[in-house]
Symmetry: C2
Subunit: 474 residues, 2 copies
């Protein structure tokens, strides 16, 4: 070892020292909680991990997650709640699964929203004529045929709206222009914008797209009207146009917009799809993997949530192909109508409430299927220690991170909030919200190798949790 | 100095050793060419550099380039060749300059293309119905009112087209789907697509947008029809849709598109604008800074080329405000109709051909005004040595790089190819082609601090070249 190498090691050592201490303390606590025997048992799954990873990354399954996702997405495109294309895509997934000789498949019907976007146009009339790129928000009502023409009031947050005088808002178009922090924090300006603005007398509401980056990209998403307010039209505009209007108003000029939007809204019947790879010892006990099959009407829903759907489809398929039957059942659920408010998940939770004790652990991938980094986990300390121990098996792909999250995922939050432990795929999704709910949610966002890593990781984690000697404690 | 610091220095030293040798050799040659006296003279401009940088980065001009650009872009939006809004924006720039008490301003009229985009719609009819995001290319003819419906042939490059049998192309829509390498290399698939496809009997041509990244973003741009070919409609589609169609065709399926496009085309009169800050000793000798004022009809032309226009506007303004009058004249040119093929620059070159000996050095910024990194320089070795020596003054902002480029810039290539030395702003424009010719070319791409750095750098370089005792040799 030469002087250069010694120096580098020394530097890395100094840098890692403090972090290492924290990790060691946590690790000591978990070691006490789990005991040596369980730790040895978990680490013994290294062989299964290797088998699955070889099969998915180098063997017959290599590239299959990407290819099957591409075929699916290219065939159906967008799959909005309540549409025939969504139902056809559900039938397709059932056939695709049956072709793998997995036949424990049931669907459960439920009523879902069916909101159809019509023509949408927002035009700045003053101080100059400019068309804005726009996407109406889910459930938005139409404007009158002649549109709505009004002056704009722009606010940064709800407090600024609430502090405005009624007469400054009445008859105006309100633009919500929040600072994007996280999606969780900021998306409330989309979901509540119409209700809040209407309550103060606005005639329409627009929201700065809930995104950190844009190439003139409007981002749609769901919203719902509160009780006792006039339902006013509502849409997302781009970061660029929000900033433009902000600058113009800051210069003391008046902005007048004309909004023309049409849509229709009713309900339809859709289905959750439940695929079981029955456990060999305790088939009633479930380890659930899941993603949603519906998407927004723009883009192709490749990322949201085609990727999550397909890594969750892949888990029982890979196990079946490798003849790996765990003690407990691995259940894969393809949720429907997530985008309109976790409609499928609510229906499932209600229908299966009295068997909820059977859910040993529930997983969901709905925040991208980029390179896996670990899991965001809800559960008590013992549950998290078990998951942390399992994640140690993924050091070679750098997927050992356990993020403590009391409400991971979207659909599964409906289940985990009843006290059932669960996890969401933690992945390298830094750009996720660049594409989310836009026309840019296509196969171009997806990466073959990252999807392979995702499928292999997802399948291995599900297998181990479904197979170890202990249940995940609550 | 502790062991850690010694280690780091040692590592950095090893890493930089080989690069340093190359730079030292070049530097030795330049030292011989320039001689100590000129080198000392150039380095003596450190004081002027400091004065300009203080004024622009911390003084009265701080933020002004961004603010003035934003006011301009927000007021006029897109400024396509041949439009009234472009002419109004030219008048505005003249007034803005006059307000700085700079009155040596002339405009020179010329005939420019006036192509107006109408309705554009491309719909995939088979294997499923999908609207494609699309932008017609400059000068494209319209389709018949009923549109053009035909099967698609997709090719990677011109060779693949040329090698195709006539009967495989005849009556088809050709999609050019080149691999993006550099803009210079790849954009030929936009500018020549219609001509090449038409020559083989295609009824329309589409081109994968000339860009490395997309959020469903079509990129327009110019094209021209060759002699003796039928003029067929031509447009850019997104990376996403090009890949989608490629995958579908690779699976053996047929793709049928319907293209509906309308446009009109005539010519109008526009103007180049010439602003002179007269030199104190040799006013006939010109150091030109320039950018183009026209833009594409989508987006706002903030990046292409609002930034270049405004740093070039700023150069004489800053010098005037600081009462820095160099020996030679600093001329700022706002080119018109660049986007339709350097129309303004050609007219200028033709009109001023017999005074071309007066151009000491010509500069252009038309590749973004992100953080300046240096200059891309055309000229003989002595010229480049002088510029390299000047660039040494910008070490503190990391803008010392001289890129040897025989044809830097766009408009000024018309001048430099006659043997006149010149340079284009070399800047940190990695994402330039993400936004180029899209609706996303807005103020959101621009950064206040980077524009300040650009203005300060541009002004200082122009001043030094205009003031040093020697002409830039040819």
């Amino acid at each position: 070892m030469n002087i250069y190498n010694i120096c580098v090691l020394k530097i890395l050592f100094f840098l890692s020292l403090s972090q290492a201490n924290v990790i060691k303390q946590e690790s000591d606590t978990c070691q006490q909680i789990l005991g040596d025997e369980l730790i040895r048992e978990i680490s013994s799954y290294g062989n299964v991990r290797d088998e699955i990873f070889r099969y998915v990354l180098e063997g017959e399954f290599k590239g299959k997650t990407y290819d099957e996702l591409a075929k699916f997405v290219d065939k159906f495109g967008a799959r909005p709640s309540g549409t025939e294309v969504l139902e056809n895509s559900i039938d397709y997934m059932i056939e695709l699964t049956r072709a793998e000789d997995i036949n424990d498949i049931v669907t459960e019907e439920l009523e879902v929203p069916h909101w159809t976007r019509g023509e949408e146009r927002v035009t700045m009339l003053q101080p100059r004529v400019k068309n804005l790129s726009v996407l109406g928000l889910g459930r938005s009502v139409s404007t009158p045929p002649e549109g709505i023409t009004a002056e704009v009031v722009i606010v940064t947050d709800f407090a600024e709206l609430e502090n405005s005088r009624e007469e400054d808002i009445k008859g105006k178009i309100v633009i919500f222009d929040p600072v994007y922090t996280t999606y969780g924090e900021t998306s409330v300006y989309r979901s509540q914008s119409a209700t809040r603005a209407s309550a103060k007398g606005a005639v329409a509401s627009l929201v700065r797209s809930i995104a950190p980056f844009s190439i003139d990209s409007p981002h749609t998403g769901s919203q719902s009207y509160g009780q006792n307010v006039t339902q006013i039209p509502t849409a997302a505009i781009t970061l660029e146009d929000a900033d433009l209007i902000r600058r113009i108003i800051n210069r003391g000029e008046k902005v007048i917009l004309k909004i023309e939007m049409s849509s229709s809204y009713d309900t339809k019947i859709s289905r959750n799809t439940i695929v079981d790879l029955k456990g060999r010892e305790n088939p009633d006990s479930l380890v659930i993997v899941s993603g949603h099959i519906d998407s927004w009407d723009v883009g192709q829903g490749a990322m949201d949530d085609g990727g999550g759907l397909f890594v969750s489809w892949a888990a029982p398929v890979i196990l079946k192909r490798l003849n790996l039957q765990p003690r407990r059942t691995v259940r894969s659920i393809f949720w429907t109508a997530e985008e309109f408010g976790l409609i499928g998940a609510y229906a499932y939770e209600e229908k299966h409430r009295d068997e909820n004790h059977n859910i040993n652990f529930i997983m969901e991938s709905d925040e991208g299927t980029f390179a896996p980094l670990g899991l965001a986990v809800a559960g008590n300390q013992e549950a998290r220690c078990i998951i942390a121990e399992i994640l140690k098996l993924f050091e070679s792909i750098n997927a050992t991170t356990l993020v403590e999250d009391d409400s991971p995922g979207s659909d599964i939050a409906v289940i985990t909030r009843t006290g059932i432990p669960g996890a969401s795929l933690h992945n390298d999704n830094e750009r996720y919200f660049w594409f989310h709910h836009t026309a840019g949610d296509t196969m171009n966002v997806e990466d073959e190798r990252e999807l392979d890593l995702g499928s292999a990781f997802w399948t291995t984690v599900a297998y181990i949790i479904a197979d170890i000697s202990v249940d995940i404690p609550r």
